[in-house]
Amino acid sequence: MRPTTLGLARAAYLVVAALLTATLLPRLGVPGDWMPDLVLIGVVSTAVLRGPQHGAIVGLTAGWLVELVPPVGSPLGLTALVTMLAGAVAGTFRSPSSRAALRPSAALLAATVVVEAGRLGSAALAEGSVAPTERLGVLVTTVVVGLVALPALLSADRALVRRRLG
């Protein structure tokens, strides 16, 4: 199986997004409570076009990427599992024909909720108490950034497919 341009572009986006989230954005002064989940936006953009199974694979891979970019997550693999679930959930929002603008955003919202729920769940297991409102900022910024970024990513994806590069 030869790697396609689309696949390479996706992988590049995920790597850059993971590095941005972990390294560059905190240095530029973006507070952790308002950090948009750029990797998840990439996962959702693939999932809404390809469906749950593909979304799960991309989610799992992206989750591993996030996990392995230092600071390395603990326990290893938990983020990957949660992101896989989020990708699968986003994949169920696939519609074969419709180009409804709200559909990808709804998928992103659902995926973010899954990720944050997983994070809260593991925090509850690890620390015994959680503050659910703390992660609300992440939810809001991710969806807002997604409103801008998702259409761009989706049109880029469709353009590559149209030129038979995907």
Partner: protein, 289 residues
């Protein structure tokens, strides 16, 4: 076909993920190796992305050094506080008023034993002949007092002889430095015990101070040490202990003078209320003649 290979790929990835998750939770070295590998690959990229300006690095290094120093000082303070608390909670301190002090200098006297200098003096209410204790027991007595410091004659110095009670029976004896009249060689750091009246010490007996008037120079009931050896009976072996009528022994001091740090100086309190006579049982009726 595409669907099936995708499912197989997903299954494989999922299996690897679950295996690694389990390995990490079980503390396997595999997970640590994955972490180290990821950090090795990603670290340089991250460093390049967040290349810090040189002056900021220098500033942070200086701050790091300063904070490290502050942390070390804090740890030292905490250790000293815990030693002070141990002293205040200890048996010797119970029932007394004491001034806490620290050993600031120590001198080894030529004839054995040692004297130490404390960082408390007459300004702190310390008088000559006050008793000095540590958490373990008796340390010695104050011999000279300056406004800010005082010198302490530590137990075991030449001339430091303490009246003591030995064991549960409380037989009277004295504890002092090993002397030439001892017919038994005593180990360095131990004290010589000699009975005032015929008595029979046993190994393991606790030795406590007898006490003196107004608690100076030695307050009563302070732990001095433990009997670790008893000399042969002088009445049975007169040739080996000529000039001795009573038993003698070796005492290991309760406080090691080499590791003294935080000590307490007992402040004598003058008694202002006279002792009231204690009521006793009524005497049995006596038979009339």
């Amino acid at each position: 076909m595409q669907q099936q290979s995708g499912r197989r790929l997903l299954g494989g990835l999922l299996a690897v993920t679950l295996a690694l998750l389990a390995a990490d939770l079980a503390g396997s070295p595999v997970a640590a190796a994955v972490r180290g590998g990821a950090a090795m690959v990603m670290g340089p990229v991250q460093r390049a992305l967040s290349a810090a300006p040189a002056d900021e690095v220098a500033r942070l290094e200086a701050e790091n050094l300063r904070l490290r120093g502050a942390a070390a000082a804090r740890a030292e303070d905490r250790a000293e506080l815990s030693r002070l608390r141990a002293l205040l909670d200890s048996d010797p301190a119970a029932g007394h008023t004491l001034v806490a002090a620290r050993v600031v200098a120590a001198g080894l006297s030529a004839v054995g034993g040692r004297s130490v200098t404390l960082d408390a003096g007459s300004r702190d209410g310390i008088k000559v002949d006050s008793t000095v204790v540590a958490a373990g027991g008796l340390v010695g007595r104050v011999v000279t007092v300056a406004p800010f410091t005082c010198d302490v004659q530590v137990l075991g110095s030449a001339g430091a002889v303490v009246g003591v009670r030995v064991g549960a029976a409380g037989q009277l004896a004295t504890v002092g430095p090993p002397t030439a009249s001892d017919r038994v060689v005593r180990r360095r750091g131990t004290l010589s015990l000699s009975f005032v009246q015929p008595g029979t010490p046993a190994v393991g007996d606790l030795v406590r101070t007898l006490g003196s008037v107004d608690d100076t120079p030695y307050a009563a009931g302070l732990l001095v040490g433990t009997v670790i050896a008893v000399d042969p009976d002088p009445s049975l072996t007169p040739t080996r202990s000529p000039g001795r009528l009573t038993r003698a022994g070796t005492v290991r001091p309760a406080v090691d003078p080499d590791t003294l740090d935080v000590v307490g100086v007992l402040v004598a309190r003058a008694r202002s209320v006279p002792r009231s006579p204690a009521p006793t049982r009524a005497a049995p009726p006596q038979a009339k003649p």
